[in-house]
Amino acid sequence: MDAKRNDLLTGFYEKMVLINTVESSLLNLFAEGLLRGTVHTCLGQEAIPTGVCAALEPGRDIVCSNHRGHGHFLAFGGEARPLIAEIMGDASGVCRGIGGSQHIQLGNFYSNGILGGMSPVATGMALAEKRKGSGGVVVQFLGDGALAEGVVSEAFNMAALWSLPILFAVESNGFAQSTPTALEHAGKLSARGAPYGIPITELDGNDVLAVHAAAQEAVGAARGAGGPQILFMNTYRLGPHSKGDDPRDPAEIARHAEQAPIPRARAGLDPEWCDTTDHRIAAEVAAIIQGIRSARIAAQ
């Protein structure tokens, strides 16, 4: 592995571990009763936010995220403290505790909890950036399940019709909530954008370097007037859909855990450095949470 590739990978590893640590901590907080509502974690899917967002320029590019958006937020440059505080419903959160896990906005980052609903909104943003000549590209993250919403098809059509700078980043984890893809999608899911003439790249979404390379290419094409792009990334969710019960076979989950993005990245890195990094980030996140807790207690 060359030096540049190694630099990239260490950076990605750090980001993925941060995402993983924040998500695990959120599940713990939920179990502790310190967090209400709902929380969809992207455990096992860390390569996609990390690789895709590394191909973006947060100053001019835009991310439209969905219900499973914490990783997108962190990978796009958002900080862990205001994110965690937000999900804990704290007034110091990025949206003053009002938005919560599924409704987050900061700068060029927007999320909403209605599946598929952000697709036309993101398409409109891409139209605006194109007309303003900003050079900005919009990334719209979508789960495989959300592809069944009609409004996503409408967005595909409009984005292609007007050749807009948007990347539809599909995180295909094989499930929507409890339902396997085969029970809710006919035919070839990755080809949904094909009749609109949108270029589609299907790839292993657990290989962070591959995700990043594909995203760079797709974002570059979109920025260079190549119109909309689709990345169809295969991955697997290691955690429950939100909190609590998971009807899947634990053996299946364990099998996928071996192929998860973090162990895969780790295989190309110095194990000692990885351990140090893991501990450092664990400590950082723990400190953030401790800080929020203390402030809460102090305020009472």
């Binding site: 209400r36 505790g97 919560g100 959300a146 809710e184 009807p247």
Partner: protein, 338 residues
Amino acid sequence: MNAPLPASTTYAKSLNAALLEMMREDERIYFLGEDILDPYGGAFKISKGLSSAFPDRVITTPISEAGFTGLATGMALRGLRPIVEIMFGDFLAIAADQIINHMAKFVTMYGRDLEVPVVVRTPMGGGRGYGATHSQSLEKIFLGTPNLTVVAPSHAHDPGQLLRNAVALGRPVLFIEHKMLYPETLLASGGALMIEPLTDEPFPTMLMKNFSRGAADVLIVAYGGMSRLLAPLARQMAEEEINLAIALPALLSPMTVAPLLPLAAQCGRVLLVEEGTTGFDWGAEVAAQLYAATYKTLKAPIARLASRAEIIPTSTAGENAMLVGAADIESKILELLA
């Protein structure tokens, strides 16, 4: 038609049991929605066990709320009796065209009455910190839609029986369940509370009283999840000797205030409570009708309580401040009596 309540079952269990029973009795009944198969059994577990018992008639759908709502309409037009679950009531907005311009239209649009026996059930309401797009009480956008019956049982009703009646109606029914009611044990008369049906329709108004002698000081009219706040409040106020008559209509639309008039006339003070946001709400129609029918006989203007006309925050503090709460109701009652 309205059998006695089974002892101490929950709102969720009542619905689940009714579904199992109905599907056993009537082969035309199908159950459709997202993530409804066992072992998951639906986001709120209302369909638990259904798919195991009736694998052919329980259909898990793609995430296409407009699509599968329309699908159900087509099934109903061709002799089946589908029950649709919309995972969160907030997503009804996606299916609005299918409900308003298709399902409800077919009943009379063709110059003759068509049977369109379809029930769309959905959990509404806040209180769980789900945030702006998973906590609303959006039923009000469907109230007043011609040919659409909107029903919202409180936990003083037998929701399972009402669901049976909805399926039997033969016309489109939007069936609203407050998500905070699911774990609640159904109310029955006992202690300070007397509960009885005020009307004998398929979707009756239940009357809950916290006194046995004397007259009501205030008539409260509320529906759905509000019974969760009102039952403890009524118990508490019984100790303070404030007599409350609480009418809980299950039939939101179409609606008549006629059964409420004797009570309204009797106590002269009326409070309307709902969880939806204020303005152009359920209470507006109730108030307008009540005022017209009791004209100048009330002792005070009708009080209306609803949630603030804002988006619903996720944080506990924000949600509590925004949604109508027991404390708001209590102080309105005291205001009315002052």
